[in-house]
Amino acid sequence: MDEMTVEVSVNGETHKGSVEARKTLADFLREDCALTGTHLACEHGVCGACTVLVDGQAVRSCLMFAVQAEGSEVVTVEGLSPNDGSLNPLQEAFREHHGLQCGFCTPGFIVSVTAFLRDHPHPSDDEIREGLSGNLCRCTGYQGIVRAVRAAAGAGA
């Protein structure tokens, strides 16, 4: 199988690897970088569980091949919390407002909302719901998630 080298900055650290071209960025993060916070559910771009930031923009990491991230800066959910292991204000808001039940979708939500609140610091409720529409929670715990985002926005997270 043809392998290609890839060099990607992940959470500020350079990761070099040799990968098959068909390996998705999501699989590269989980298997080659051992960063399993990025979750995989549908693996065809519907659910949003695998959302990461690539060069600052939230994208589905299951819809990018690792080789396409060559030279990019990737931030995963692991890169969003402080180094001391505490939660960031958005994560705190999710905990405070019951923005997670089983938690499987949560990394995708956290990454998406991080980008969303950066670009829309004072969202209306409609904007929050539209901003969340690209992530699915199969526990259907959306009310808590909306409350968490509203609280985080109010707190300037």
Binding site: H44, Q57, C62, M64, Q68, S112, G134
Partner: protein, 289 residues
């Protein structure tokens, strides 16, 4: 890893892309934003020996406004959404892009990718048809221009040949006293439209329609231009009731699918309603001048 193995190519110029396509023919597929192609690969609905990645070809991305608006095929939908030039010169395009998928999809998804994918329910092919935009297509023999009416030839099929590449799309700039709207019905925000309508029209000094462009989403196997509605509107000064009639005639002429998302009859009724709504919005905007 879900897609079948392929050989990955990373060209940096259009000439390199067309050379690769000439070499590999229909065993090769260009990879734009990947928001439709990669799911199809992951589900093994499609399989190619060679993927030619366009994401490292800088000349394919960018928005130029001079006389008309030229959008490079690899321009991200998110870039169009943020562009003041697009909002000013081609409001229909600016208003349609936020309806595509979700913001995470639009961060990767490209204008050219969505048009070349030619899904009959998607927004940009309808915008291309309503505005009578033109596509520039490059092959190893050179470039050619494909008018909107010749671009969409079947479901997921365009006039772009397997050894050719969509390079950019030229949208005419909105005229004075014009209005535009795209209205669609989807079960959830970002879902494919069950039905939808795009329209643009401009008025003359007597508030009569000087020019109209109408296209329908999800109403047949290909992105559809509703020429009958355009003809009905030309030279007219229609009332709201007239617009409903125009829309009902346009919808009645379509043959949409019956599927789990809606029966053909339901789609026609929804489409008529949406087109009347889109035309009403466009008129109001044009009259305000």
């Amino acid at each position: 890893m879900k897609p079948a193995p392929f050989t990955y190519h990373r060209p940096s110029t259009v000439a390199e892309v067309t050379a690769l396509l000439a070499e590999h023919g229909d065993e090769a597929k260009v990879l734009a934003g990947g928001q439709s192609l990669v799911p199809m690969l992951a589900l093994r609905l499609a399989r190619f020996e060679h993927l030619v990645d366009l994401n490292f070809v800088p000349e394919l991305a960018g928005i130029r406004a001079n006389g008309s608006l030229v959008v490079g095929a690899m321009t991200r939908q998110a870039a169009v959404e943020r562009s003041a030039d697009v909002a000013r010169t081609v409001p229909l395009l600016a208003r349609s892009v936020p309806l595509i998928g979700h913001f995470q999809i639009r961060n990767r998804g490209t204008v050219g990718g969505s048009i070349a994918h030619a899904d009959p329910a998607s927004e940009l092919p309808a915008v291309v048809l309503a505005l009578r935009a033109e596509a520039t297509v490059a092959g190893s023999a050179g470039r050619r221009t494909v008018p909107a009416d010749e671009l969409f030839v079947g479901t997921w099929t365009t006039a772009v040949e397997p050894d050719e590449l969509l390079v950019d799309v030229r949208f005419p700039t909105a005229k004075p006293r014009s209005g535009a709207a795209l209205v669609e019905l989807a079960r959830r925000h970002g879902d494919f439209a069950v039905a939808g309508a795009a329209c643009t029209l401009s008025l003359d000094g007597d508030d009569r329609v000087a020019d109209a462009g109408v296209a329908l989403l999800g109403m047949g196997p290909v992105p559809l231009r509703a020429s009958s509605a355009e003809t009905d509107l030309a030279g007219a000064a229609p009332s709201a009731a007239d617009l409903v009639e125009v829309a009902e005639r346009a919808a009645a002429a379509t043959e949409p699918v019956d599927d789990v998302h809606g029966s053909a009859r339901y789609r026609r009724r929804v489409c008529a309603h949406l087109l009347a709504q889109a035309l009403g919005q466009a008129f109001e905007e044009a009259r305000r001048g």
